[in-house]
């Protein structure tokens, strides 16, 4: 909880009214959703597959530098599309309404070392329900970093800029470890837990398949280009990891984003839940291409309000949501990617040190409001 509650001016009444207005926005999209949306996601999937195939084809000749550059760039973009606009959103159930078993959250598997099933649990159920609640939402610093003044400082946090950089480079492994709750589960007693072992095995199998494809089979198929293709797939994975890590950091870490106390979400109403999502997320502004490459997570606020609306609709939803922010005098946190990335990194550095001044106690009234 940051010192001043930016929602303190809202009455309980107003918060519920805000909830109803957001419900209405959601219903409008549900009513309009149809053939064009379905055509959109099919087109994206088809384009992604063609781009990936073509890039991997070019990489068979990666021994020639122009082929390496072209193939690596194409494969990086394809992998980003696959994880962000397609994988993340399909796994959210954004396209379940189409009832196409090939594009459904229960059948989709993504190009990522964390198996869909586990990611869906930790992301959809935990992170999206407990967004920015200290102690409940592990996305807050991924359990390795301190991202709010209210989180207790520990000397280990001194190294957090470094952890964050390593996490960015190997982000998909970070996520797999995080989905497994490795930190918690590596204790001796828990390690033997059969459920954990089964999940760890599933991750192991997924990693093996991913590694075999990217670092053995594809390079082998490239013959004399073995080494250069290996470097290319490694680079593409690295680019994808750093990109998605940056986008995701921008969603909840930039300065101004609120975090909440465990107690404050008990007995939360629909309106209060919406309000927490609004205050706990930040957007990225930019061109259509930029929104696309972030999997529309640049509309993080809208995504958190309506996680299962199709991603291609967030842009139009954002206009209406932003108007509500203005109406209720709330701060809509957004900015271009470099600014937001800088802001998030700045926080990571700042909070690696203990709080400067003694923390101002949260005024009682405000706590009441969020908790009531």
């Amino acid at each position: 909880m940051t010192a001043i509650d930016p929602t303190a001016h809202l009455t309980a009444e107003q918060i519920e009214e805000l909830g109803r207005e957001l419900d209405a926005i959601r219903d409008e999209v549900l009513a309009a959703r149809g053939e064009q949306d379905a055509a959109y996601i099919r087109k994206v999937i088809s384009a992604q597959r063609k781009l990936e195939l073509a890039s991997r084809g070019v990489l068979l000749f990666s021994i020639f530098p122009p082929a390496w550059l072209l193939g690596t760039a194409g494969l990086s973009v394809a992998k980003i599309m696959e994880n962000m606009e397609i994988g993340h959103n399909v796994l959210h159930g954004q396209w379940d309404w189409m009832r196409d078993p090939k594009i459904h959250s229960t059948t989709w598997e993504w190009d990522h070392v964390s198996p869909s099933e586990q990611w869906k649990h930790s992301h959809n159920e935990l992170h999206h329900t407990y967004t920015n609640v200290i102690g409940k939402d592990n996305d807050l610093g991924y359990g390795i970093m301190r991202v709010d003044e209210d989180q207790k400082w520990h000397p280990l946090h001194l190294g957090q800029p470094l952890w964050n950089l390593v996490n960015a480079c190997f982000f998909e492994y970070g996520i797999a470890a995080y989905d497994l709750e490795l930190g918690k589960n590596l204790h001796k007693r828990r390690r033997r837990n059969p459920e954990f072992r089964a999940r760890a095995k599933a991750v192991g199998r997924k990693i093996r398949k991913q590694v075999l494809k990217d670092y053995v089979i594809h390079p082998l198929l490239s013959g004399p280009s073995f080494l250069t293709t290996l470097a290319a797939t490694f680079t593409a994975n690295l680019v994808r990891n750093i990109w998605s890590h940056s986008v995701i950091m921008c969603g909840h870490f930039p300065e101004g984003v609120q975090v909440f106390e465990r107690r404050s979400v008990e007995g939360e109403t629909r309106g209060q839940w919406y309000l927490r999502q609004m205050m706990g997320s930040a957007n990225i502004s930019g061109s259509r291409a930029m929104h696309f490459m972030t999997g529309n997570l640049s509309h993080q606020i809208e995504h958190h309000l309506f996680p299962d609306l199709p991603s291609n609709r967030y842009a139009e939803v954002a206009v209406k949501v932003r108007a509500l922010f203005e109406k209720y005098e709330l701060e809509y946190i957004t900015g271009p990617l470099p600014k937001q990335v800088f802001s998030a990194w700045h926080k990571v550095f700042r909070l690696s040190l203990p709080n400067k001044k003694p923390k101002i106690k949260t005024p009682a009234r405000e706590k009441e409001l969020v908790a009531s």
Partner: protein, 336 residues
């Protein structure tokens, strides 16, 4: 391995959706209007298609407003059609989602999903000597498939439709009559009133000696079953229903689809199949009328009511229900 996490077929589908080994699909290649509210669709099935038997139906999965919906349609083309294509003939019913889409909005070139042909509303191997077809409305479709496929020496068709212009395949039927291949009685119900099955003998004196195939609305089929039973010749009558016979409804409840992780409120009259589909859950389905068992799903908790009989089934380990004819009877949890 090369394509993980996808399968090679995911890539092949991009270029060759109808190839052998692919999920069975079909391409709508032409749409011919038949009457004001009916049309025939010419479909090129994928390579995996197995030849049908006249009278059978095919299930098709069509995207209507982006949503995949599955329905059954009788095949109206003969089994030996030279170009390998099949036809179905669809009549748009008021507010019908799929039928209206197919009749009024389907475009040539559209890909649809197909299932293998199925159904036992077919002629026996040994051709019967005397046949009666009794049909109404769109119920003529499976019979048209048989008429086009198999010549029988002595065949009578009694067909009901509101007015002459509503009779499907009218020109072709009259052509068969002219060639002496068919005796036809049209009952125009808007003028003559409904066919009284008990008085069928006035139209077809030897009806009881004929092997009979009947297809049409529930009222007609119920009356026919009664009449044939009363006359002790029930085994000569085969019927094809397009909809289940619903008799009961009760209180509904909250339905949880535990695999997908969704919970929705359901009334006591709507089949769980429809409820699940509406919620975006992947529900397997087949005939949608309780005969094929293509929709069976484990019931994990709670109770459901069979809409045909009113019978209540409660959850127990291993209990399976047919979602197309079961509705919620209180809160329940089904494994989808």
């Amino acid at each position: 391995m090369v394509t993980t996490p996808l399968l090679p077929s995911d890539y092949l589908d991009l270029v060759s959706p109808l190839r052998a080994g692919a999920d069975l699909r079909g391409r709508i290649e032409a749409v011919h209007p038949e009457t004001a509210d009916a049309a025939t669709l010419v479909i090129r099935p994928g390579r995996g298609w197995r030849r049908h038997t006249a009278g059978q139906y095919v299930r098709i999965g069509v995207d209507v407003d982006g949503r995949r919906l599955w329905r059954a349609y009788s095949i109206t083309s003969p089994t030996d059609r030279q170009d390998g294509r099949i036809t179905i003939t669809v009549k748009a019913i008021p507010d019908g989602q799929v039928s209206n889409h197919l009749v009024h909005r389907a475009r040539p070139g559209t890909l649809i999903r197909l299932d293998q042909p199925t159904g036992d509303f077919v002629l026996p191997h040994a051709k019967p000597a005397k046949v009666l077809y009794l049909t109404a409305g769109s119920g003529i479709t499976p019979v048209m498939g048989m008429l086009r496929d198999t010549e029988v020496d002595d065949v009578v068709l009694v067909h009901c439709a509101p007015q002459p212009q509503d009779v499907l395949f009218r020109d072709e039927l009259h052509g068969l009559v002219a060639d002496k291949k068919l005796r036809l009685t049209e009952v125009h119900t808007a003028m003559d009133g409904r066919l009284d099955v008990a008085r069928l003998g006035e139209l077809v004196p030897d009806w009881a000696e004929r092997e009979t195939w009947a297809c049409g609305p529930a009222g007609l089929l119920d009356a026919a079953e009664e009449h044939w039973t009363d006359n002790g010749v029930r085994e000569r009558l085969r019927t094809e229903r397009f909809r289940p016979r619903i008799v009961v409804a009760g209180d509904g409840g909250a339905v949880t689809f535990s695999t997908t992780g969704k919970t929705v409120d359901a009334d006591g009259a709507t089949p769980l199949l429809d409820i699940g589909e509406e919620a975006g859950v992947l529900m397997p389905s087949g005939c949608r009328m309780g005969i094929c068992f293509g929709c069976v799903t484990p019931l994990k908790a709670g109770a459901v009511r069979d809409l045909r009989t009113g019978e209540i089934t409660e959850a127990e380990p291993g209990v399976l229900i047919q979602t197309c004819v079961s509705a919620a009877a209180g809160p329940c949890d089904i494994e989808r």
